[in-house]
């Protein structure tokens, strides 16, 4: 596990090191008119021409001290930037993930229990189209129609008035998650404002990502419905409805859980595009900027963080497995 994280950082760090120090220093340069001497001083200062292992070692030592360096793109230390950006991303992911899973499982169950009917074919088309739509294009189209044409669901995270409240000083930021903070501050106007801005990006993600859960639920439901224990339940006198809801679904959800865990991790990483389009200042937008301007500290931090999320979600999935599947629980 730790090995995987170390491996990932080594790989990404090595890629960064492919650039000559002269280019890497450019992110630190504010003034265009620096001369060569000044550049070299900067390279010296940040140790950019040390051997790669030395630089990596310096970085990893910092990580253990909780020092991830300075993000040039965010113009703050990486940790500070993360504290600002992450809640925005988390809020969207936390809203979207349950919606995606519920939509997918619901439609997938419907498709499986109505196999080869119009419902089944309909969900199939929905899924294939969902697979095929480019995230960025769907997002742009949604914005063009809802925001452009009807003036609904603007991009961003808050309206201008909302932002004024946010920075007025009366608004306590307990969790930095806008929805929760609004409730804690008892500002329902803020709550609706924040929710209003979440609808379109969440809808975008549901349309695109529920397809995967749908297809998986369908095939594992079909698998489960064909098992012998379904026949036993039928022979006991269970109704069709109960069999689908209880006997088949419980088994069918086991593979869905794995994918849902990875979905969460995947959504985090996929925020690059969603946040760029909907102009939400989360880690996705930050990463996009960082990657474009080669902000090494920010890139390394985010790669480490997102790989960490992936690894942790794998663990969570294992625990959930044990919860739903008694065969694993005991062994």
């Amino acid at each position: 596990m730790v090995l995987i994280l170390v491996g990932v950082t080594v790989i990404v760090f090595s890629i960064m090191m492919l650039l000559p120090p002269g280019q890497r220093v450019s992110v630190y340069v504010q003034d265009e008119r620096v001369n060569n001497q000044q550049l070299e001083a900067l390279i010296e200062k940040y140790g950019l021409d040390d051997p790669a292992p030395v630089q990596y070692w310096r970085w990893i030592k910092g990580v253990f001290r909780g020092d991830f360096g300075y993000s040039v793109v965010a113009v703050t230390p990486v940790i500070e930037a993360f504290k600002n950006y992450f809640p925005v991303t988390l809020e969207l992911v936390l809203i979207a993930t349950p919606l995606i899973i519920m939509t997918g499982v619901w439609l997938g169950t419907k498709a499986a229990t109505n196999k080869d009917t119009a419902i089944d074919h309909g969900t199939r088309i929905f899924a294939i189209v969902g697979y095929s739509l480019p995230t960025f294009w769907l997002g742009l189209m949604l914005l063009m129609v809802f925001y452009g044409l009807f003036g609904l669901f603007p991009p961003g995270v808050l309206s201008n008035e909302g932002r004024d409240v946010l920075y007025s000083g009366d608004f306590q930021r307990y969790t930095r998650l806008l929805l929760i903070d609004s409730i804690l501050n008892w500002r329902w106007d803020m709550f609706w404002d924040a929710l209003y801005h979440l609808i379109l990006p969440a809808f975008n993600l549901v349309l695109l990502s529920s397809a995967m859960i749908l297809r998986l639920t369908r095939s594992s439901m079909l698998d489960s419905l064909g098992q012998d224990y379904i026949r036993t339940a039928l022979a006991k006198g269970a109704s069709k409805n109960l069999i689908e809801r209880k006997h088949a679904r419980r088994n069918a959800l086991i593979p869905v859980i794995t994918v849902s865990g990875l979905l969460f991790a995947g959504l985090m990483a996929g925020m690059v595009i969603t946040e760029t389009i909907f102009n939400r200042p989360g880690i996705g937008l930050w990463m996009a900027d960082a990657a474009l301007r080669l902000d090494v500290s920010a890139i390394m931090f985010n790669v480490l963080f997102l790989s960490g999320v992936y690894v942790v979600m794998n663990l969570v999935v294992d625990v959930l497995y044990a919860y739903v599947d008694p065969r694993i629980r005991l062994s």
Partner: protein
């Protein structure tokens, strides 16, 4: 169904060939296949006849979209520009037609390269097991754990923006799926009797892998690959969209959509004024990807024996 009774009916064909022919027949009858094939064929025709459909002004550099002047505001479809123009008056129609060639190149080249790398690594890992397996699979895990888009963006920036870099990056990062799939398949059959028999009779590792293992496990990988052509196209387009592709004026679909970002809202009296900039290039990408996904889905239905008995 015993092979014996089937064989007596259809002549003495090899059972695997027979299974394949049976499946292929089913595949071609599937409406999804027909729609998918039609879409892909249409794109293929456009790609092949690009010089006829949209004659280039500079034949030695056909991927450069011709443009009329430098005006920033996109112009709606007209006789001269049937699908309108991008900022700086690049012709959308021309870009889409020549972009088709790039799309095929991207999709097929990347997936093919991924397949070769992934299948080789997976076959080696699955067949030899032990330390080799451990090392290869841990590296695969690392590639899974990496945030794909972020790493891809960083690499493209390091090696220089452009379509070639995007293709390169997707080759480097995309093989991971196939490794896992082929390894899982091989583990299932590695200890089967016929492999043991081949080994006992002195066949070399290479010939066992090539002649006995791969033919039995390649199908599921090919199904995954057929589903992945579309996904790969989407990743490439996403990278272009994020500004890592070619500069404006190059016939690349993703780069063309990225132009749309600034034109989603028209002036107050005509909100949808620039719809063609947003809609058309993205729609063409969707259609292309949809074609491949339809084929992939139908193929999985028919060729995956586990799926199709249902």
């Amino acid at each position: 169904m015993s092979a014996e009774t089937n064989a007596s009916r259809t002549g003495n064909q090899h059972p695997r060939l027979q299974e394949f022919l049976f499946s292929a027949k089913r595949f071609l009858k599937n409406p999804l296949t027909i729609v998918g094939l039609t879409i892909i064929m249409a794109f293929a025709i456009v790609a092949i006849f690009a010089p006829v459909i949209a004659p280039p002004e500079k034949p030695d550099d056909p991927f450069q979209i011709p443009h009329d002047g430098w005006m920033m505001e996109p112009q709606p479809p007209s006789l001269e520009h049937p699908m309108g123009t991008l900022p700086q008056q690049y012709d959308i129609f021309y870009g889409l037609v020549w972009g088709t060639r790039n799309a095929f190149k991207i999709g097929l080249l990347i997936v093919l390269a991924n397949l070769v790398i992934g299948v080789l690594l997976g076959a080696i890992a699955g067949y030899f097991g032990g330390v080799v397996d451990e090392v290869i699979m841990r590296v695969t895990d690392m590639f899974y754990a990496m945030p794909f888009l972020v790493v891809a963006m960083a690499i493209v920036v390091v090696i220089g923006k452009g379509l070639t870099s995007i293709v390169l990056v997707l080759i480097v990062l995309g093989w991971r799926t196939y490794t896992r799939v082929i390894r899982a398949e091989i583990l299932l059959i590695r200890d089967k009797d016929y492999i043991q028999a081949a080994r006992a009779s002195g066949a070399s590792h290479m010939s066992i892998i090539m002649r006995h293992i791969l033919p039995n496990s390649i199908f599921s990988v090919l199904i995954v690959a057929s589903m992945n052509i579309g996904t790969t196209m989407l990743s490439a387009a996403a990278l272009s969209f994020l500004g890592l592709g070619s500069d404006i004026g190059y016939a690349d679909w993703g780069a063309m959509v990225s132009e749309a970002r600034n034109w989603i809202v028209g002036p107050a009296n005509a909100r949808l004024q620039y719809w063609f900039v947003v809609f058309i290039p993205g729609f063409v990408i969707t259609l292309f990807v949809l074609g491949w996904n339809l084929l992939g889905d139908a193929a999985r239905d028919v060729f995956d024996p586990k799926q199709r008995r249902r």
